[in-house]
């Protein structure tokens, strides 16, 4: 789960990572009130889960109350790379002397946490790597031993940062690691890590991703989930306990097991189709889950045809077939379905579908055949509409 800047900074503060004083605001009035309390100049920052906020005009300095009003009004409701701004963060402006880059992340390949530091902050980390690969220092940390002082010293000296801030930057890195480990984060990124004109080290930005599987240990962080920013269809799926990702095509997809669903999307794409979603109905999918899934898939108006690709292991094909029959009884289904049932109880499943004689449902035996058929049906639906 990705956190907004101000949420990440809240966790930073709790672990002693220095951040400028700031307040979240959801309206122009709240922004003005926050700025008055903080004292001018302030920075008004769009709170959206995407990079490039500054370039898009989502971060503005305000010298007085009228500027806060103007900027807050302009940024609220702004579209930044497809995301609408619902929240602002108003922060005391800082005088910039140096900009560094710092991060702690999970290195999957080494299966260890990795700490990173660069003196070239303020630009994208991939940009730093492209400009000067040697400008980023990376050190692995043993998760059983944690972050030692020497890790911080090595990072600071090897990154070649200003000598007078080696010590405070090392201290900040240790505290970032503490936040990473204790908040169950998979990424903590500070860009820029700022040295102010007064030679103070502060985290000017905060990008944090926490492990959704560990939220039970962090009830406060769990409340950060911003349901209003979620796609309504994805939210609906989540409420029903379905694993769902919205895509931009017109063929609804349901399968059992993440790997098989990913593979189904690929096979449909190879047949010339465009999947509208990823939906894993899970191992052991029961009839009720299938009804929920059909409802979620059909809530997307772009869907012209639907493919069910089931390979029954723990999942029983007869359960899936019963679920589909129930769904057709409860919902007004207007688009064609292609159903491929293979594996556990597949013959029983196909028999149930044959007896129900559902309108517009084609049964296919193979995955490739089912993909070809659904693409054909989606195309003819497109030609009609």
């Amino acid at each position: 789960m990705d956190l907004l800047e101000y949420q990440g900074k809240q966790l930073f503060r709790a672990h002693g990572v220095p951040v400028p004083d700031g307040r979240p605001a959801a309206t122009v009035e709240e922004a003005v009130e926050a700025a008055d309390e903080l004292g001018y100049p302030v920075v008004v920052k769009a709170q959206v889960l995407i990079g490039g906020r500054g370039k898009a005009g989502g971060i503005k300095v305000a010298g007085d109350r009228s500027e806060v009003e103007a900027h807050a009004g302009a940024i609220l409701g702004m579209d930044i790379r497809g995301l609408t701004v619902h929240e602002l963060y108003v922060e005391r402006a800082s005088e910039i002397a140096e900009e560094y880059y710092a991060a702690i992340l999970l290195d999957r390949t080494a299966k260890k946490p990795m700490a990173m530091l660069s003196r070239m902050g303020g630009m994208d980390v991939e940009e730093i790597a492209a400009t000067d690969p040697n400008a980023i220092v990376r050190i692995h940390v043993d998760p059983l031993l944690g972050f030692s002082d020497f890790h911080g010293r090595r990072l600071a000296f090897e990154a070649g940062i200003a000598g007078d801030v080696v010590r405070p930057v090392s201290v900040v890195l240790a505290k970032l690691y503490e936040a990473f480990a204790e908040e169950d984060a998979v990424l903590v990124e500070v860009n820029p890590l700022l040295v102010t004109a007064d030679r103070e080290v502060v985290a000017l930005d905060a990008k944090m991703t926490v492990d959704g599987n560990a939220l039970y240990r962090h009830p406060d962080t769990a409340t950060f989930r911003d349901v209003s920013a979620e796609d309504p269809q994805e939210r609906m799926a989540k409420e029903r306990g379905l694993t769902f990702v919205k895509l931009d095509g017109d063929i609804g997809i349901l399968g059992n097991g993440a790997g098989l669903v990913m593979s189904t999307l690929d096979v449909v794409a190879q047949a010339g189709g465009h999947p509208a979603n990823f939906l894993d109905a899970g191992g052991g999918s029961k009839a009720e889950a299938i009804v929920d899934a059909v409802e979620v898939i059909l809530s997307n108006r772009n869907v012209r045809a639907v493919l069910f690709n089931i390979f029954g292991g723990i999942t029983r094909c007869d359960e899936v077939a019963r679920g589909l029959v129930t769904a057709f009884g409860q919902l007004d289904v207007k688009v064609p379905f292609v159903v491929r049932l293979d594996g556990t109880n597949d013959e029983e499943g196909r028999r149930i579908l044959a007896e129900a004689n559902l309108p517009n449902v084609t049964v296919e035996k193979t995955m490739d055949g089912a993909a070809a058929r659904v693409v054909e049906l989606a195309r003819s639906a497109e030609a009609v509409s």
Binding site: D211, A258, G259, L260, S263, A269, D368
Partner: protein, 292 residues
Amino acid sequence: MSVLVDSGTKLVVSGLTGREGSFHGMNNRRYGTDLVAGVTPGKGGQDVEGVPVFDTVHEAVAETGANTSMIFVPPRFAADAILEAADAGIELVVCITEGIPVHDMLRVYTHLRRGPTRLIGPNCPGILSPGKANVGIIPAHFFSEGNVGLVSRSGTLTYQIGNELAQRGFGNSSIVGIGGDPVQGSSFIEIIDLFQADPQTELIVMCGEIGGEDEERAAEHVAEHVDKPVVAYIAGFTAPPGKTMGHAGAIISGSKGTAQAKAEALEAKGVRVGRTPTEVAEIAAEIAGATV
């Protein structure tokens, strides 16, 4: 022969008294796996269909000689259960549980690397050596004994590919599900090495997906250390970046971990990559016709 589990496997199941644990544990026993014990703290002295239940893994090992553990406990207790099994001297731990916090797995993985215990999973379907033993949730009736070693990050996709292979007459030495999490106990390379050393295995099929770099590392490794033919499949060519596709580990981060990059890395090292599960089986049949 086969890898990891066989007729010498003596299985203890942590969570045998739970719904899933008893269902699959008993399924494994019916298949012929030597299920010797269950562990549920506080339920020591009971039994599940005649299988004795102990309070601790240590006690189960001392009483029954268990050498393999299967973990079926909820995510927040699973890391502890893996550590307990390792501490009790279990050689092989198979963790089925999905949803274990990744920091728990970082600690468990780092600790296990320093000792003799091998971990498969978590978030995996387990291991099946057809005709010998089944440890996990793989539906065994689709698979027969044969010469293909199959290793995969996904469950149902494994069944799909295994079934395509079966339809072309292939059986399996072993099927190993390494799991869909970002930090797994064992990765492709370690299982491929086992298949390379296993006399029964004549062809290796690896089934990867988006996220991480394990497939790329496996490609390098195969080129240098494996002389048996390897066929690969990668799922997730159409997955958008930044979205977790069901498995916690199936995510493209920035430009890293794409299916395209993995397929290219494998092909660059001479590993043929099927674009569909059907094509994987076709390639396998072609290679087997030529070399096996």
